[in-house]
Symmetry: C2
Subunit: 200 residues, 2 copies
């Protein structure tokens, strides 16, 4: 089953963002007000926020929310699970707007934020999954991101735009390589007291 | 390849815990001081903490850290990726202590904490992975946990001990069903202002 909205498969992301501050709710709400989510279906509960729509808008919105929260200067963590092609998925809960232009790129592009992240690829839908993973980790090294091996994941350090471009590229390449059901998890840290000297 | 330490396969977890407070570092360090990590290999950087060892100790330590942080009363989130049997894994970085008794159960069992979580199973190593996932979601319903469908995951609500017992059970059952490489991601929320009335 390929769940399509218009001509594209429905992609999605379940994510949560955690500013380490008593003002977490205000920081998150202020940031969300700065992000255009009109091209995704969005649902928030007390554990995660889920967005669904075209893949470009899924990455556009999650990057924009991270950048807006980062602007507060508060140490924050983003945990995101990107998914496309799950055979258990439904056709519902998506956005009818199929146009390609990213709604937040104009506001995002001037925010520069160093991040540290760990990502893992799970190509579920066929193919030689470990070879696919190794190929995509190698590919990430050519994208201007610092890539370091870690247990159960791969560490990435760099500018938010560069890292998100790399993540979107390897996610697309994994699907294109034959994985009809692709999952990618990313844990991001920004404004960490341990790495602030790198960011300045 | 089965990476074994003594007689058991090396399990592991990469996790991060986020108290939404300016005192996050103190809360985490105070909590870690209350947790016995002597039966796991442990490494912390600015993005995640990684622990490796026997599966029972991996669950014992992550549950104990969550419970100790929860005691602060601060809204906190835990993101954890459990893994066993990754073909890319190495034999190193584990704990030589192979004994079974859980070091933190005596201190954990008296802390009762309601949690809300979303979990996803990724049986990578063979078998009919969607059937395995559906079977384990059904199994979770018999474990005293409130189970609700969600996009890209399954929502769990209940007492921390009940939920962690369920998570460990379905993780073991997934491996036992033929998935030589098993991954499970869990996002947990405790002390959320949105659900405090449930906890009292």
């Amino acid at each position: 089953m390929n769940h399509v909205c218009g001509t594209s498969k429905i992609a999605g992301c379940s994510f949560s963002i955690h500013p380490m501050s008593e003002d977490f709710a205000e920081i998150i709400l202020d940031s969300l007000n700065m992000v255009d989510t009109s091209k995704v279906w969005l649902d928030t509960d007390d554990v995660t926020t889920t967005i669904r729509g075209r893949l470009e808008h899924i990455f556009d919105v999650t990057k924009a929310i991270l950048l807006q929260v980062s602007k507060s200067g508060v140490h924050a963590a983003l945990q995101a699970t990107y998914s496309i092609g799950c055979p258990g998925d439904s056709n519902g809960d998506t956005c009818p707007d199929e146009s390609l232009d990213r709604m937040n790129e104009d506001s995002s592009r001037f925010i520069h934020q160093h991040l540290s992240a760990k990502f893992s690829l799970y190509p579920m839908g066929g193919g030689s999954y470990m070879d696919t993973i190794y190929t995509q980790i190698e590919a990430m090294k050519s994208k201007g991101v610092q890539v370091t091996p870690a247990h159960y994941s791969t560490r990435l350090d760099g500018d938010t735009h560069t890292v998100f471009k790399g993540l979107e590229d390897v996610f697309r390449a994994t699907e294109a390589s034959g994985s009809s059901h692709t999952v990618m998890t990313v844990t991001v840290s920004v404004n960490s007291p341990s790495t602030k000297e790198v960011e300045s």
